[in-house]
Symmetry: D2
Subunit: 345 residues, 4 copies
């Protein structure tokens, strides 16, 4: 049994606990909290009544070092850095669900997150935990930067096309829509039910923190600079991201090549489904599942390509992918505890 700890008790922690119920090789030995110290886990997450007996503890690395082989960190930005330093020094594998180790350039981190990175020397060795791109590196990693939800939905459809130069590197538009769990569980007026229900809005227009993360990975895929714009929106639903991605097809590229490249790239991936011609995904199809659905529109009469991807932001966009990474790290079957289809309707 691998002994697992969780730092944080927000929605991604709940999702980790939900998924790990089905994992035969893991034992959750530790969970920490800021606001709920001393409470039972099923008082904080009553859906777990009958499943776990954990009590929420303060965040203490010595406890984790004694109790855990691996730790998931789900903290506000900046807070993971010292913990990952201490834990990895003690030989504990860390999977950070926050943003602290995703951006390779500390200057960009500082610009978008508003604080200086306190351990920039750790950035080169952090592995970006997108298994479809970095599987082999993940297996060897000592700490993993679990990707953001929007980046997961944006990179998977675009990376194979950029790598093969099948779409232009300029003028990419990513118009993404997310469920509200992406905003976390903290009590803010803007996230009250009555402020969100039966309504729709954009946010972070021109400035969202996932933009440089997407750009970084698209540049790596393309091997050159990529110019794109990203706008997130908030959908009155709990879970799910749908990314509508507009790119330009160079004149020498046939529409069939677009589909062909994506089908080839994901033919053996357990969690990526390229949908048939004319089928475009709905977020509910991957609700609570670790799957990614991708629909493609490419037409001989138009230089435009439209790619539409759907993920569950808490599963493939956060905790499911984190567990997929842990499976890779510890040599388990990559899909262990992640084989459930979308919960629909």
């Amino acid at each position: 049994m691998v002994r697992v700890g969780i730092v944080g008790d927000g929605y991604t922690a709940a999702e980790l606990l939900r998924l790990m119920v089905l994992h035969p090789e893991l034992q959750v030995t530790y969970i920490s909290s800021h606001h709920n110290i001393g409470r039972r886990i099923d008082a904080v997450f009553p859906q777990l009544t009958g499943f776990y007996d954990l009590i929420l503890e303060p965040t203490e690395t010595q406890r984790m070092i004694g109790l855990c082989d691996a730790v998931f960190l789900a903290l506000p930005h900046g807070a993971s850095i010292p913990l990952v330093q201490e834990l990895t020094a003690a030989g504990i594998r860390c999977i950070d669900l926050g943003a602290d180790f995703r951006l390779k350039d500390p200057a960009i981190y500082e610009k978008y997150y508003g604080l200086a990175h306190t351990a920039p020397h750790m950035l080169p060795d952090a592995v970006y935990g997108l298994p479809e791109v970095y599987r082999e590196k993940i297996k060897q990693a000592s700490y993993i930067a679990n990707p953001g939800c929007y980046p997961t939905a944006s990179i998977l459809p675009l990376a194979p096309l950029l790598k093969k130069h099948l779409v232009d590197t300029q003028g990419i538009v990513i118009d993404a829509k997310s469920g509200v769990t992406g905003a976390g569980r903290s009590a803010k007026e803007a996230n009250l039910f009555c402020e969100i229900n039966d309504s729709f809005k954009a946010y972070g227009v021109g400035t969202h923190r996932h933009m440089p993360e997407i750009a970084q990975e698209l540049c790596f895929a393309a091997g050159e600079n990529v110019q794109m714009i990203f706008t997130p929106h908030l959908v009155p639903m709990n879970r799910g991201i749908l990314a509508t991605i507009y790119a330009m097809r160079p004149s020498g590229v046939h529409p069939e090549e677009i589909r062909g490249a994506l089908e080839e790239a994901y033919a053996n991936e357990p969690f990526v489904q390229v949908l048939p011609e004319g089928v475009f995904p709905q977020t509910k199809w991957v609700y609570g599942s670790n799957h990614v659905h991708i629909g493609i529109w490419a037409d001989p009469d138009s230089p435009r390509v439209i790619l539409i991807s759907a993920i569950d932001n808490l599963t493939k966009g956060a905790s499911g992918q984190a567990l997929q990474n842990l499976n890779l790290l510890f040599g388990f079957d990559e899909t262990t505890a992640l084989t459930a289809p979308g919960l629909t309707p």
Copy 2:
């Protein structure tokens, strides 16, 4: 023009402002806030962009005395009492949307609201602002206790039947369901979108503060003690209350008499609709409107009577009724600015 002030900037304040846009005889001259002092009203409520130029002020009675003929108060319990004292002393009509003047018995107030009433001498003169029951008193009132949302939905179907002894005074069950605006705009984890959406729950089981208010008015209607239980529930919707009311029909009463009594009681009421046989209301039918819809099930084979009422908790359940009361107080047509039908779909 009657000059109107509003104390408070929550959802009921927004609803008052929305409704008063259509009132030709009122001018809003003052609005106060705790958290948003100095902000424009359309920064706090962007739906009012282009409609009002007000700036939110601190709560100061001298300002109100100079600027207002009438004041709506929408405050946490306890807070209205000193304001209503000062304002009525200065001759300003007060309509209190809170609970401070609804209960005639200060001991019950203290039991349910957890604090001693600081002006119990004012309770006898407070008029309970349910026009269908107290219309003539309202016209003469100097301060009005605007009814709670659940009480409005519960009293209107039952009062005429209790008055005529057509249902038993014992064993009444009121199972009520509300939209989430009833919980106000304050940022609490329990009212976050993701905690409410696609889910349903009861709350305040056995202990809700509207229970004694309902009981008081049902007793007044019956002229004797009434034994009832009331359970509120939270529906994943913004507005609306549906109350499902179970009462027993005494053996000598014919089912037709139930319908007859309600149709007669509300024949000339502008805002109460007794629905045809077999039709039961949906909350959306009165969305944003001041109307009350009542459906009746009474069957010769059963001693049970089921009454189902629907209101909009923010309109007839709060701000619409408050404006109806102001219309009565100032001699305007009672329906002024309140003639819109439900916004459906």
Copy 3:
């Protein structure tokens, strides 16, 4: 491997398929449809993309007899009867998710379903598939009447109390609220998104078909006649039933006995959780799970008892319970493929 067939392709069929993905001992070999014959299952339920390769077939008992050891039937009332007759005659175990074998009295069936039962001789041997009440009979059954969703939520909290005479058999009120999947997938104006969203209503007032089913089982539990009324409501959510149950506590019964009896009855049940004092369930806590949560309000000052139960209408209220029954029928661990907690948030 047990070979399983499904007759019908509505929401309960989709839920069966979702759950059986995780079952190591079952193989789905057959699924039939009325409207979608010849289509791939993942064209009808795209959330199953990558999980099943089935093609929807016409409903033919000979095919089932050749391909299946057990068959789930999810059909409109009346339609299961001839199929269950033929299949059980051929030795195939049947679990009927419809209503055809639930009511022991064919006259009541005819009154509520509007058609004469065509095989009343089969009713005595049909086992009502509520494992918490009929576990041993289920193991021996050749055909099982899987309970309705409202009855499951209503019977489980009441049966142990009626059996021990801890609540009166008269005057029970069951006010139940359901998500919209309970209405099935057929295209009706009343179930369109815009007719349901942000709204709430009662339906089937005084006449719902689940009333006699609840009454039958409550009478069996009490060993005498039970007088109750049941009103269902529609909540703008996909899944979940919350039943608010009002009963009277006889004067000699202490409130503690109520809680004690329920805790004792369900101490060893894998799927029933009696919640702590003061905790009342939310439907989302059992979303997609086979669990039942029960909250209890019983107070020395009041003769009322309020029981609040929550289930997922598609899981414990239909397909999960059906799979639980199949596990019992074939000697698998009763919880196989049913161990997931509620998907929240």
Copy 4:
């Protein structure tokens, strides 16, 4: 009093009736239906209980000619053409809420709507009913093509910029999101509550019928060909459209000029609000109102311009705009019965 008829009884008809309750100069004398002939209007739309006594009639032009001065038509495409011919010949003003008279080129109509236009000679005289662009022509029109909902949301932010050459005519991306009322009231599986709730999807990718309508009006504004792509999406909400529009700012144009041009264009428009810097609209802000909110992102560091507009698809996107057009046609104040702010929360 102007006597008004309505042909059709879907959601746009309900919205017309809701709005006209507040119009002092109109009398609804006629409404026709296909499926509901002979029913009372408040049986079909119970929210109108107490407001109208109309009975739904068959569609007969002779009845309309006798009873109406103006007729709103809300019919499937193709069906309005013969009615508008007959009615205008009899001197009755027609406002067609369908698509039959919007496209100037009958070949494009045929391509996108799949049928030949039966009265192409009428197209040149049809006035496109967007008052902010064609106000003077509308006043003189004998028949008006009321704009589509997506076109209204798309054209208003772009037209003033294209007219002044402040954005490129190439590479425009319109990513639009709509509430579900846009799909009408007909019973289709895809529009059931459980298929839409808590989910999000794109539809009509690359092929939606509003694309040529948007393109036509953008070309008229620019005075040259405009190349754009339009993708609609479905949001789990009843009402509202949010259009996120991406355009390129030519190098000689300063970001301030973008804002300046829109503020100037709409300074005196009663229904268009250009929001302050940094404020982007939410659809709920215009819920049930005839207003349009426009937010602007233009940054010196980027050649991109993002325009975000919000309307209510049933009000400014259909019936509210139709009533605005009728006000213009008959010389009433343009805002009569349209002065309500958004119903929020």
